[in-house]
Symmetry: C2
Subunit: 273 residues, 2 copies
């Protein structure tokens, strides 16, 4: 999906909702089998129930890998199923990153073989660990300022020039990456910082996790994260647990749909002018 197509889908639907797929055997309705088959059915149910309100889906690879090799079979089935939704941007939430020849292999597997539109990547190993993910027709989504408490440990440590590490990381992203192929992860719990990051990176989409369980807020994210006036919304706001586990029994899909609708309504309400 190109940037123009993504923006068109967002504007048409007036939604920036990304539905995170975190299939957790301990939380899924008991009617599903506790295996990869159950995981696939559960994910399909969430996808069907929320597609109307979402513009993106984000399977979290860890939850699939927790099943061992069967998890990757399930992931492949979910990735295939997502191909039935060509107007939804697919994100493999994988946080990969390694030396160049190795990152290239992750890109091959997750973007080409599994056919995801995009993959999340981690920057600790620097430029040569990130570059291989920008392959033709695909996107990479690099960690910037994350929503968890651990963001304080390194990302928000001060550098020699008194600016935070994450600000230096953003400078590098501005220099290294094109907004046509790269997005940046900025946590919903960091809306004050998000404003400044938007100044640094005026044109990159932000993938914004941390809503719901982590305490982020749609109004502030839309205000802080949008592209500069008149150029569109500029964020994808992810909700995972609050949607996947909105209901606890066989009505989980109905509950997920209702929660996605609620978020969509809130997004529309605060849609930036």
């Amino acid at each position: 999906m190109t940037r123009q197509e993504l923006i068109k889908n967002i504007e048409f639907k007036k939604s920036v909702l990304c539905v995170g797929l975190d299939p957790d055997l301990s939380k899924m309705p008991e009617s599903f089998s506790s295996d990869s088959k159950g995981v696939v059915e559960f994910c399909k149910g969430i996808i069907d129930a929320t597609a109307e309100h979402a513009v993106a889906f984000k399977p979290n690879l860890a939850f699939f890998e927790s099943l061992g090799q069967q998890g990757w079979e399930a992931l492949a089935e979910v990735a295939d199923y997502l191909k039935k939704f060509p107007n939804h941007f697919s994100i493999a939430d994988a946080k990969r990153g390694d030396i160049g020849n190795t990152s290239k292999m992750y890109a091959e597997g997750i973007l080409n073989k599994m056919r995801f539109d995009s993959i999340t990547v981690a920057p600790y190993m620097g430029k040569d660990s990130l570059e291989p993910f920008a392959i033709q027709g695909k996107w990479a989504i690099a960690l910037g300022l994350t929503s968890n408490s651990g963001a304080h440990d390194f990302q928000m440590k001060r550098m020699q020039d008194d600016r935070y590490l994450y600000e230096h990381v953003m400078d590098s992203y501005r220099e290294w990456t094109s907004p046509e192929q790269w997005m940046i992860v900025v946590g919903a719990t960091r809306s004050e910082s998000m404003k400044k990051i938007r100044e640094q990176l005026p044109d990159h989409f932000f993938l914004v996790p941390g809503l719901g369980h982590q305490g982020g807020d749609i109004k502030n994210v839309l205000k802080s994260g949008s592209f500069r006036s008149g150029q569109g919304v500029g964020v994808l706001i992810n909700a995972s647990r609050s949607i996947c586990y909105a209901g606890i029994n066989e009505k989980y899909a109905q509950a997920a749909s209702k929660e996605a609708l609620r978020l969509h309504e809130e997004i529309k309400y605060y849609w930036p002018r």
Copy 2:
């Protein structure tokens, strides 16, 4: 494997060689099929050929994932096969790391389900992203100072106190992690820095990549990375491509064995007293 068992295996064999398994279809002998079956047979061949000289094996997950879901089937078979070598420490080179509930799932999949002794992890998201990997009876191996050129981009940026970011990361590891369950990645190309890191972290094993193709040197690594005098060697030195692709035809295993022997001899020659 406990720290004491690992040290015993190292001392008994007088080896710190870790053989990295990077099965690359484009480099494997033509006699292997270009699929997961071929990958498994190739890896088994390398393992059999080098086990005598190695104390650890390190499958690089990217090379498996490049095959899509079949890659994880192959990975499971290789992980099973490694169970036949209980005196060899197994490392899933995965560079994972995410918010706590997600890291926990990676740990479950790779350490429990796939039964690796250890997993490599990336620190950008901080303490809560790392802690879940330290599960009972297993190890986590955290990125410290890597061997690639990208280490200069962030790891070797100066902080407010004029020290490098990676030095702060090492301080955190000292505070957060036990040498009974944690190792640190320090590139072979950084032997000058390795000396200082050894001062900071006197008791942690270092996993040292970057030999061969990346230009590291065994003599310097053993000198810089060993535990303080009389307490043992303190490093695992990894070689991947230089062993896996020592030969280019059906004699690949023989060539791998020869290269592993050569590295083992060099390790013994420079064994610290």
